[in-house]
Symmetry: C2
Subunit: 271 residues, 2 copies
């Protein structure tokens, strides 16, 4: 048994560890450190700047909960955009629906190239997929008529900071169709309460409907993660279609439950 | 900053780490290693045989979710029993209601003594509390008319193994009043799926109504934990009273949401 452990510190004082079989890839791209390790407990794990982006064992929870709620609530989701999501897994979830196009807008070409090499991601060959290696805040400026925008980004710092700012949120609103939905990963309800509260304030100044929902993700900080669902007209309670049968985590019942927030956390967000 | 870390391996290949300020207590009792450490991230942490039983930062989630659902669903909860729970925190939640007695049945006197010394647990002075230093499987044999039995035990191995076996479950059924409810912590839906499935089978052969529910607990294995709610007559959807205002996690909405299980996990349990 190998005695090498990968450690991610979620704060200076707490973190997780995973026993490592070996390192499959390691490089410094123009934007970040990209590493894929193989672990005994969680399978292959994509790390960006030393943080777990996905593990083979529990990525389905994150990706289904990021993508499925908006896909079942939009009256007719045809043109979809993913900003970030360079590992390609969010696109897999979207392609389970009868859509026209999904645009993957990833700033770091190397993330997608390495993910394809190691995880396969054969679904990216689907003719409905369009890949852009661009800064999402620039790319979005020239677009309109988008049905759903998904923000599948790294933590809001460095290159990703502008993805949570008001100018970008306003631009997303303009780029969405009337029934459009904006969904973003929004960090850990356990460790990043203040960020979430401020992010919701900014979203509320741009969108009419803004709701937070949560899901348990064992390898993410605190074991629980949050997402925002924002729209002009579409509420997350209006479910228009059945989810695809291939899902592993998401059900309509889980959909409803995920919008129930713990008492103290909810009071903190809306006080 | 201290550079000592406590590590708990949830499996040989994965675990959590916490930076330690200092060790407040350490002993080997007749039954187990008892240790309380002070940590930077989670406050004081009770460890039994090296496993996190509670941390000051997130214990409220575990204890509210263990206790509150049954307390609001029972038509008239007066005589309550906690088996295990030697740290005393489960009793704190029960005393928020207008009950007659709560019996705390803990096999290891040292756990309660050390918890009182370090955590205070002033609520244990309440005259409604009765403490028994007994094996729960023996103690329960001479009792009847109990309204709710809570099993707040360590993992089902060693001395706690008999608490999940059919003879004990049948005895609990006999000791409960007609409207009685049996609630137990039932391990991690991420790491202990097979245990949970087998435990539900045994419960189903004893009780008419058996439902599993889940809650996110950051310092427990997988960051998510399960509980069973079992009864002859009382369903977990029939809520009889408002929860006490002092709660931090539980709400009636969370109550409902906690019974929604992830798709694949639910299929595994009930296939």
């Amino acid at each position: 048994m190998d005695n090498t452990f990968f450690v991610e510190h979620h704060t200076p004082n707490a973190g997780i560890l995973m026993r490592v079989k070996n390192t499959l890839h390691k490089e410094k791209s123009r934007f970040q450190d990209i590493e894929i390790i193989d672990t005994y407990e969680f399978g292959r794990v994509l790390l960006l700047d030393g943080k777990v982006m996905l593990t083979e064992r529990d990525e389905y929870i994150y990706h289904e909960m990021l993508i499925q709620p908006a896909m079942v609530c939009h009256p007719s989701p045809k043109n979809i955009v993913v900003i970030g999501g360079g590992d390609g897994f969010a696109v897999r979830e979207i392609l389970k629906y009868d859509i026209d196009t999904v645009s993957l807008v990833e700033i770091d070409e190397r993330v997608l190239t390495v993910s394809r090499e190691i995880f396969g991601c054969s679904w990216l060959e689907d003719p409905r997929v369009r890949v852009y290696y661009k800064d999402g805040t620039e790319w979005i400026k020239h677009r309109d008529g988008i049905d759903i925008i998904f923000i599948d980004s790294i933590d809001p710092e460095g290159v990703a900071l502008s993805l949570v700012g008001s100018p970008f949120l306003k631009r997303c609103k303009q780029s969405l169709s009337v029934d459009g939905i904006f969904v973003a990963q929004s960090e850990s309800p356990f460790y990043h309460k203040k960020f979430i509260k401020n992010y919701l304030k900014r979203l509320n100044s741009v969108f009419t409907i803004v709701k937070l929902y949560i899901a348990p993700i064992p390898t993410y900080p605190g074991g629980i993660w949050s997402f925002v669902f924002a729209s002009h007209t579409v509420t997350p309670t209006s479910i228009h279609r059945d989810p695809p049968p291939s899902l592993r985590f998401y059900t309509p019942e889980i959909h409803g439950a995920s919008f129930s927030l713990p008492k103290e956390f909810k009071e903190f967000l809306y006080e």
